[in-house]
C-alpha cells in the first residue's frame, strides 16, 4: 500500500463530511429507500475458532465472528473472562494456538498472523488503531501533544510542518483539548485529557478498524461521560469499525451495536446489544444484567 499523504487525509475527511451533508430524500417510497446494505457489503474482519489458552478456561477459545464496516462490536464479561486476550489475538499482538483472524484491506483478505511483521506494523499505524486502557501505554509521554498526533501522519509520509501542525490543532479541537496545549507533553495532562489525546493520536489517520481496551476504564465518571460522548460521535462521523472491550454494560449500551458476552474463555451469548441487555438468554448474561445497580 502506498503511503497516504496528509493532504489526501484532509481531503478524505472533507469528502466524508460532504457525503454526510448530502440531503436524503424525504419520503420512503420503494424507489428512494436504499437497497439493503448487507446485500453487497464485504466484511472487514473475520475470526474463525480463535483459541489462545494460558490455562484451563483462561484466555479465549473457539471464538468466531464476522465484523462489517461501520459496526461497533462490544466484548463484555467480567475480569479474567478472556476479553483482553481475545482483543490481543484479533489485533495481531498475540499468536493464537488455533484458528485464524482475517482482515479485508479493501482488495484482499490478509491473515493477520501470517502476514509479515512489517505489514502488520503498517496496518497498525494506518488502517488500524488501538486505544489502550492506560493512555501511558498508547502515548509517547516524552514528546509534545502535537508530536503524538502527528506521528501516524509522519509514518505515512507527511513531512510538511505546517500541515502536520494544522492536523494536530484540528484534532486537539475535535477531542476538546485547548489548542494552546499543543506543545505540552502528556505528562502535564489530566487522565481524561490523556485519554482524549490517545484517541486523537489513533484517529488522525482515519483508520478503518479500531481496537479499544476499556477506553474509559480508569477514569472518573464525569470524565467518562465526556469521552463516551466524544467516541460516540467520532465513531459515527468517521464510520469506524470498532472492537471494544468493556466490563461496563452501560458503556456497551451506549457505544456497541452488537455484543458478545464472554465467560471463562468462551462466548456464551452474542447478538444485538439492545437484545442482549433487554432479553438475555444465557443464565450468565441474565446474572450480569440483573446485577446492574440503577440510580
Amino acid at each position: 500500500m502506498s503511503a497516504l499523504s496528509c493532504d489526501t487525509l484532509l481531503e478524505s475527511r472533507a469528502r466524508r463530511r460532504a457525503d454526510a451533508d448530502e440531503d436524503s430524500p424525504e419520503n420512503f417510497s420503494e424507489a428512494t429507500t436504499p437497497r439493503p446494505a448487507w446485500a453487497a457489503e464485504s466484511p472487514l474482519l473475520q475470526a474463525e475458532h480463535v483459541t489462545r489458552l494460558f490455562g484451563p478456561e483462561q484466555g479465549c477459545q473457539d471464538v468466531s465472528f464476522t465484523l462489517y464496516p461501520g459496526e461497533v462490536l462490544g466484548l463484555a464479561g467480567e475480569s479474567g473472562s478472556g476479553k483482553s486476550t481475545l482483543l490481543a489475538a484479533l489485533s495481531g499482538r498475540l499468536l493464537p494456538e488455533a484458528g485464524h483472524v482475517r482482515y479485508h484491506d479493501g482488495k484482499d483478505w490478509l491473515d493477520v498472523h501470517a502476514v509479515g511483521e512489517s505489514r502488520r506494523r503498517t496496518l497498525l499505524r494506518t488502517e488500524w488503531g488501538f486505544v489502550e486502557q492506560n493512555p501511558r501505554d498508547g502515548l509517547r509521554m516524552s514528546v509534545s501533544a502535537g508530536a503524538n498526533i502527528g506521528e501516524r501522519l509522519m509514518a505515512q509520509g507527511a513531512r510538511h510542518y505546517g500541515k502536520l501542525r494544522q492536523a494536530a490543532l484540528d484534532w486537539l479541537r475535535h477531542v476538546e483539548i485547548e489548542p494552546a496545549r499543543i506543545d505540552d507533553t502528556p505528562g502535564s495532562f489530566s487522565g481524561g485529557m490523556r485519554q482524549r489525546l490517545q484517541i486523537a493520536r489513533n484517529l488522525v489517520s482515519f483508520p478503518r478498524l479500531v481496537f479499544m481496551d476499556e477506553p474509559t476504564g480508569g477514569l472518573d465518571v464525569s470524565v467518562q461521560a465526556r469521552i463516551l460522548d466524544l467516541l460516540r460521535n467520532l465513531v459515527r462521523e468517521l464510520k469506524l469499525s470498532v472492537v471494544l472491550v468493556t466490563h461496563d454494560l452501560a458503556v456497551a449500551r451506549l457505544l456497541a451495536d452488537r455484543l458478545m458476552v464472554m465467560r471463562r474463555s468462551r462466548i456464551v451469548e452474542a447478538g444485538l446489544t439492545d437484545q442482549i441487555l433487554d432479553d438475555p438468554q444465557h443464565p450468565y448474561t441474565q446474572l450480569l444484567v440483573s446485577s446492574i445497580l440503577k440510580v
Binding site: 436524503s24 446494505a37 448487507w38 459496526e71 459515527r236 451506549l254 437484545q275 441474565q286
Partner: protein, 240 residues
C-alpha cells in the same frame, strides 16, 4: 396495496434462570398483517404482553417462535434470526419506535436527541435541526431547554422529547407505546395530530394507548392480546 408487516404465530416465553428457571409465557401465538396507512391498537389488561409484542417487533426481545416479516427497501426481511446489522438497518430506515421512557445520555442535548434518527439516515444537519426545532415548538418545549441534556427535565417534557425524536423522520412502520400517558390536554392533542398525519402519509402504526378517547380517535382496528391467547388455550405460568 401490499402489507408492510406480516406476523405469524409468534410466541414469547421468558426463562428466568435466576429464579429456579421459572418459565413465564407472555405471548402464545400472535398472527396479523399490517398495511400502510393503518393504525393497529393493541389492547388487553396490564401484563397481557402489549409492550412485549412491541419490543419483539423492534428487536429488543427475541421471539421464542414464529415469523416476523417486514418490507424493507422493497424486499421482505425475516426478523427472526436476523443479524444485528440487519435489525439496525431496519431501525434506520423502516421501523420507528416511540418508547414509554426516554433513554437519557449524559451531555447530549434535547435537540441532538431529537435530530439523531434523521442524521443516521444521512439527512443534512441543517435540515435535521430545523425539523427538530419545528417539532419541539409544536410540542411546546420552551426554547431555553433545547440546548440542555434532558436528564433533569420533567417526565412530561422527556416524553415529548421522545415523541419529537420518533416523528422527525417518516417511517413505513411506527411503534408507539403510551405516547400520551403523562401529557396535558394540549400536548395530547398535538401527539394525536402527529399520529394522524403519519397515518395520512401512509405510515403503518402499531400503538398502545391507555387513554380510551385517544384509542378510539386513532385506531383503524384492534388486536386484543388476551383473546388472542385465549384462542390458543395458553396459560400464563408454567412451573419448570
Amino acid at each position: 396495496m401490499d402489507a408492510i408487516l406480516k406476523v405469524s404465530g409468534i410466541g414469547k416465553r421468558f426463562v428466568l434462570h435466576q429464579a429456579q428457571s421459572a418459565v413465564l409465557t407472555v405471548l402464545e401465538s400472535i398472527s396479523f398483517a399490517l398495511f400502510p396507512g393503518e393504525c393497529l391498537v393493541l389492547s388487553g389488561h396490564s401484563g397481557a404482553g402489549k409492550s412485549t409484542l412491541m419490543r419483539i417487533l423492534y428487536g429488543n426481545y427475541l421471539a421464542s417462535r414464529g415469523s416476523i416479516r417486514i418490507r424493507h427497501g422493497g424486499e421482505w426481511l425475516e426478523m427472526a434470526g436476523a443479524e444485528p446489522r440487519q435489525t439496525l438497518a431496519l431501525r434506520r430506515h423502516t421501523i420507528g419506535y416511540v418508547s414509554q421512557f426516554l433513554r437519557v445520555i449524559p451531555r447530549v442535548t434535547a435537540l441532538d436527541v431529537v435530530m439523531e434518527p434523521a442524521l443516521l439516515r444521512g439527512c443534512a444537519r441543517k435540515t435535521a435541526q430545523s425539523k427538530a426545532e419545528a417539532l419541539l415548538t409544536r410540542l411546546n418545549i420552551p426554547e431555553r431547554l433545547w440546548h440542555l441534556a434532558p436528564g433533569t427535565f420533567s417526565g412530561g417534557e422527556q416524553q415529548r422529547i421522545n415523541i419529537a425524536r420518533g416523528f422527525i423522520a417518516p417511517w413505513p412502520l411506527l411503534l408507539v407505546d403510551e405516547p400520551t400517558a403523562s401529557l396535558d390536554e394540549t400536548n395530547r392533542q398535538v401527539v394525536l395530530d402527529l399520529i394522524a398525519e403519519a397515518k395520512a402519509a401512509d405510515s403503518a402504526i402499531i400503538g398502545i394507548f391507555h387513554d380510551r378517547s385517544a384509542r378510539e380517535a386513532i385506531a383503524s382496528r384492534f388486536l386484543n392480546l388476551e383473546s388472542a391467547r385465549a384462542h390458543t388455550g395458553g396459560e400464563s405460568f408454567h412451573a419448570a
